[in-house]
Symmetry: C2
Subunit: 136 residues, 2 copies
């Protein structure tokens, strides 16, 4: 059984957020709009993304500490330590960020999204439509 896999970014976040310490914990907590700038090689995969829809963006949180298994939620030392798989901490063994965002503009290989808490330069690894199953 193969036991490691290579993620290759399909694009990058272009955002006014440049410092992880300044980034909101979640997109609905004051995160700015951001551009997702895609590699030309994946352009065919983008062709049906539409303004006004919500999408799920997966990122690779490249500044994360992958050795962390237990955290104080939201970095608050007053909250009891919690296993990372019960938190959205970026620090975790495979630091994949999950962001539900609205598409507000499409400009060729650049997609503008609302309220993204990932910092400038964060690799984008996938985009998926929202299904009813995700909302139940």
């Amino acid at each position: 059984m193969e036991d490691r896999f290579v993620v290759q970014p399909i694009g990058w976040v272009e955002s006014p957020l440049t410092d992880r310490a300044d980034a909101p914990k979640q997109g609905d907590e004051g995160a700015p709009d951001a551009w997702l700038v895609f590699e030309p090689a994946v352009a065919d995969g983008l062709r049906d993304l539409r303004v006004g829809t919500d999408v799920i963006v997966l990122t690779w949180l490249h500044l994360a500490d992958r050795e962390v298994l237990v955290v104080h939620p939201r970095g608050d030392a007053a909250r009891p330590e919690t296993g990372v798989f019960s938190t959205r901490s970026p620090d975790r063994p495979n630091p994949i960020g999950l962001h539900r965002v609205a598409v507000v503009a499409v400009d060729g290989d650049r997609i503008r999204v609302r309220d993204l808490e990932a910092v400038d330069g964060t690799p984008v690894v996938d985009v998926k439509p929202v299904l009813q199953l995700d909302d139940r």
Copy 2:
């Protein structure tokens, strides 16, 4: 800028589904319950997972074709070709599966979940709690 990242599975799917051709397209279309069998090394990260909650499981869809950018949705040739980032096709550049499932049992490093459409042996790469943001 680093441009590739290594995913290391934190566990594996143990399921009666053994053939991709037999797998439902989505978990709410008749998928069976499955065990997620985690590596002992990540056990601390699991300690707050509870029966009766919904979680988001991310998998690595290891049987996928990563060169695919356009598909007929749900493999139906009658449906027009669509960019993969507007579909949930497993065939995509970074074949990360996103599964919202209910936890129905916890047995040490094994977590049983309802309605998982991933085949036996699929690597598990992350588990996250569901946030209100995901449901908006």
